[in-house]
Symmetry: C2
Subunit: 221 residues, 2 copies
């Protein structure tokens, strides 16, 4: 039986569990909402009730950021925001290249929140001559042929793939060969990458798995 | 202390764990890759090795779909594909409305895979007079004012929100009041919804939490 050994998902060992990482932005959003309401302190129980999570889980998750709550008081909202953002490295901007300046690529380039998540798109690439040398939201669209050389020279770590599925693997290869070590993939395929390369699938399919199943269960009630 | 009780994330009780739901599309993609290579049978170990997961976890996850592997043989690839797609209700199309026909909305409308995930966008809505009554990839853009009436009449269950963050809550309210019970939200805010409404955040922030942290840990090695 032939099994694809290089299949890339979950290839990279990671010390913090992925479900914890996926919950941290939810805690952060909640904390920022509380901050706006001038709430200064918050307990694990407050979190757990508002987010319908187990308090022990919340405590465990937050401990990864290095912040430990005080008994009976809980956490200082501002401190915890800083700790989570620091842990996720969202208070530092990392330069990224994007390949594929179609609708999705354009949407990602124009997504104002990206900088809040530590991503700074410095250039975008496409093979369409009508797009090359234009700008989208202030970002230059360059010939995809130039990606490799520029990524090397600019020491780019993050590549965002928004090309159609049939072209995604080729673009991914160009990126990894150019020294890019983390791929944010929007193409609905499983990319094959060198060992230690990080691939995060933007996960429309994963998001829709949750939505569809919940809807099915809701209708069955 | 003022805590927002209606905070919507994880509001809906669900029998299957969300991490399992998020892994099912990954198993499915892998199975389809194997199907293309004419692999007929697959064991938990094959899965676990290829996807770097614990075999017990894989077995547990797959059991939710109602399929139990045979000892020493494992699973029939075709059967398991059908079981997962059936479990996620991806073999039935559910009609959906989309609000916000900007770049992201246009990208979602044009996303060919959506039907494979059981979502059928039947109409899109915007408030921009220059967009209203045009078509995007064969989908009519209608005045947002018409959403409520049409959603009621067409018994629409799923609403996709791709409007900017400041408008998202208002659009969400229109949708839920129009009988929409599942929201796929791309706006970077926490929507407040009636009890039992399903909200799945498309989760750029969650995806980027995983990417950023993995990259930080990779650099620290």
């Amino acid at each position: 039986m032939l099994i694809e050994k290089n299949f890339s998902i979950y290839m990279t060992k990671i010390t913090v569990p992925e479900p914890t990482l996926r919950r941290l932005p939810i805690y952060l959003q909640f904390l920022k909402d509380q901050q706006k309401k001038e709430v200064n302190e918050i307990s694990t129980t407050n979190f757990a009730e508002a987010l319908i999570l187990d308090p022990t889980q919340v405590r465990k998750d937050l401990a990864y950021t290095g912040i430990v709550g005080k008994p009976k008081v809980g956490y200082t909202v501002n401190e915890l925001i800083k700790a989570i953002e620091g842990y996720l490295n969202w208070n530092n901007l990392t330069d990224a290249f994007l390949a594929g300046a179609g609708n999705l690529g354009t949407a990602i380039i124009g997504y104002e929140q990206l900088k809040r998540y530590g991503i700074n798109i410095v250039a975008a690439f496409d093979k369409d001559p009508y797009k090359i040398n234009t700008t989208v939201n202030g970002i230059y669209i360059l010939d995809i042929e130039k990606l490799s050389d520029l990524a090397h020279r600019m020491h780019i770590n993050i590549g965002i793939i928004t090309v159609p599925a049939p072209e995604a693997q080729e673009v991914c290869d160009i990126m990894t060969q150019a020294g890019i070590i983390a791929i944010w993939n929007f193409a609905p395929i499983s990319l094959v990458v060198p060992k230690n390369t990080i691939v995060e699938n933007a996960g429309f399919s994963q998001s829709l798995a949750v939505l569809s199943r919940k809807l099915t269960e809701r209708k069955d009630q």
